[in-house]
Symmetry: C2
Subunit: 215 residues, 2 copies
DNA sequence: GTATAAACATACTGACAAGAATGTTTTTGC
DNA sequence: GCAAAAACATTCTTGTCAGTATGTTTATAC
């Protein structure tokens, strides 16, 4: 029974906790997107939740920690969308296309998160005084680099298997990420448009971006 | 003599005024880049100038107006760099390449300005209460659209003269601007590197971006 | 050279937001 | 069903910064 309690009751508590945190993170992402990282107040997030500041500060030590959580989540969305493609047994050009398309779609689907993290990394670099925060920040930046490395490695692979022609892997990688990530700036959510429209945008964009690298 | 005073003395005053304003705008751009739009305080700008807040508020009514001035200046840099290329009698593909390269170079050369305006348009959209500010903001956004239209028009032209193959002009335009503008995120100024390195980066990036659109 | 205005510097205020402190309710372990 | 702790809500403190008001210097006009 005690074992049962540990494997069912305990998770029930943490699940509740995690669900509440996820709600807060989502509300924060929306507020960051709407008002900007600085102008968005913790009260705004609470209001978005239909709740109060007390709840937020019960789960997170500071506003920065909330931003970090949003950042982590945003990156996780990206990894979850792209990593499956990496395992497919395909030539590099096709793999790259699928990755780009998957990335574009996840940009649109998790727009509040991606908008939030787009601005403000430099901001927080100079703003955070605590060394602990700096550490977290470098971890997040490292994670972003790891993600971009996925693309660079496929570019490299394409050079090897001959399906791609890349004069400069670093710059090509930047160009790809820049073009795809620009989606968060210009993509506007329209209520009537479904996944089909997103699919088409992602497809066209990915095709346009990749075509310049084909051998 | 009075005529002489109007044509020499008066301009001397306005020239001094404009020069002071330009200094303030530049200091603001640097601070916006370093600390972010919100965290950068008017005192920071004054300190950057080796001056005080009084000087800043003598020339600008509000912090927002300073940002608007930085925005205008940033866009002007872009227009000044790219418009000469537009007048050249070249096929669209070559013209587009020269434009992209010029844009890339101006991004690196006027980095503080471009960094400043990259974040914060959405921020100010919800933040500004005054209708006058909203008007200025739409004007600036319109100016940015006009600039991007330069690229879209050349893309269109390329479709006509057959030098380019563009499935979707709007998306291709976004992709180009996204890839080029990403420079402000990842380009780091190194003291030893001269214009030659910038040239090379710009050339490689522009080539990579454009190649996907060649016919 | 002196009145006048522009170009600053200095000192102050009011508003707002982060975070702490404290109170209240709900859930959980037993 | 009852302590105990987690999950909140409410209130208060504190620092900061945009903007203002006022003082001081410097340039201009005549």
């Amino acid at each position: 029974m005690t074992v049962h309690a540990q494997t069912k009751e305990k998770p029930k508590l943490t699940k509740r906790k995690m669900a509440s945190q996820q709600q807060i993170i989502h509300a924060a992402a929306v507020c960051f997107m709407l008002y900007g990282l600085e102008k968005a107040t913790v009260n705004d997030m609470a209001r978005e939740l239909g709740s109060t500041k007390g709840r937020v500060y019960h789960h997170f030590a500071s506003k920065n920690e909330i931003f970090f959580a949003v950042y982590r989540q945003a990156m996780q969305f990206c990894f979850d969308a792209v990593e499956p493609v990496l395992c497919l047994p395909l030539p590099a050009d096709q793999k790259l296309f699928k990755m780009a398309k998957a990335h574009a779609i996840v940009m649109m689907e998790t727009l509040p998160y991606q908008r939030s993290i787009r601005q403000g990394v430099n901001m927080y670099l100079h703003g955070s005084d605590s060394t602990a925060e700096r550490a977290v920040l470098s971890e997040l930046i490292a994670r972003r680099n790891a993600y971009e490395d996925l693309y660079r490695s496929v570019l490299q692979q394409g050079q090897v298997d001959g399906s791609l022609s890349v004069p400069d892997v670093a710059i090509a990688g930047r160009a790809i990420m820049g073009a795809l990530n620009s989606l968060v700036d210009w993509y506007r959510v329209r209520p009537e448009q479904g996944t089909a429209d997103q699919e088409k945008i992602a497809d066209t964009l990915a095709r346009t971006v990749i075509r310049g690298l084909l051998a």
